[in-house]
Point group: C2
Chain length 174, copies 2
DNA sequence: TTATTTACGCTACCGCTGTAGCGTAAAGGC
DNA sequence: GCCTTTACGCTACAGCGGTAGCGTAAATAA
């Protein structure tokens, strides 16, 4: 069933994924799908969770470089994912608490990775202000979603670098 | 028609707003609604735009205070608005370019106001880094949407203050 | 006054998400 | 061997967003 759903999702995005067609393609009754997943949104979340691969990332000794790499990777992942998919998942999460939980754990992994590196950078004295890491993470990752979902501006790799530079301050010597 | 739509929107949110019911309540055929607005999303955008009041804000001589007030006002507006409404509009904007344009102009006013104050703060030498105002605005406003739509954390007034402090640095003397 | 445009109401329809209810085959406990 | 549970298929349906086509009343132009 998940395989059929994956094909449908790839073919037509979130809207194009029809439960009827998934059922037909999987050779299964529609009611069976609804017995396993209580809504289309939860099916898609389960599908994405099952397909998700970890971000390959091992921390080096240079927090600035690590942070740039992480934020760039998140930005790249967001630009690859169809925008409607992200937006529809956010909308579904706003409606259903169960979906909200699943979606949250979907992003949480990346959020935690960024938090760890930010904390390390702060310990190394690389951060300008005196704010909690959580807020800095929001200011690194939040603008990506803001641009994607609200303003519609592009998420260039340059933009990710600029975000990091803004939080860490300009690099000094070399 | 907009009045009927407003009642429906207030009663049941974006989902609860049914075009059929709006038509019935307004004493109008459904096709008439679709002749004026090509989709449900565009109807809602038009409705919100017509209901929208400007943020009362006149700049003082203290950019820090202005920025805090602006970001807090935006955060307050977002917490008052049902989350599903914001999310559904974002989703509709991701699908339809026409909706995207309307939604964009909806937020653009506030975005521009913040940009102006940030530029003024930067001229006054209040900003720590050396980044363009546009990026700073993203780092002030983006986290609000990120929390609202992705992580689900609350948008307290304290949080707005923290965001400003993170961008401007801690206040110095008094 | 007459002809034409414009806007509207109405019905019927498509495809969609999600639900209710019924029949049935397989699995597990005794 | 028997009986209960579990899972499934199937049909039918409600409500939704959105569309096509037809008839018609009102405004406008000549």
């Amino acid at each position: 069933m998940l395989a059929a759903a994956a094909e449908e999702l790839q073919r037509g995005g979130y809207d194009g994924l029809s439960i009827d067609r998934v059922a037909e393609r999987a050779g299964v009754a529609k009611t069976t799908l609804y017995r396993r997943w209580p809504s289309k949104a939860e099916l898609v979340v389960a599908l994405i969770t099952s397909l998700r691969e970890e971000i390959p990332f091992e921390p080096s000794d240079d927090p600035r470089r690590d942070l740039t790499a992480l934020v760039s990777a998140i930005a790249a992942g967001l630009t690859e994912t169809p925008t409607t998919l992200v937006a529809d998942l956010a909308a579904a999460a706003a409606r259903e608490p169960r979906v909200s939980e699943s979606v949250r754990t979907l992003w949480a992994e990346r959020h935690r990775a960024v938090t760890a590196v930010v904390a390390k950078a702060q310990e190394a004295g690389l951060v300008l202000g005196h704010v909690s890491p959580a807020v800095l993470v929001d200011q690194l990752v939040g603008p990506l979603y803001y641009r994607l979902l609200v303003t519609g501006e592009p998420l260039s790799p340059d933009y990710a670098r600029t975000l990091v530079r803004s939080v860490l301050g300009p690099e000094e010597s070399r």
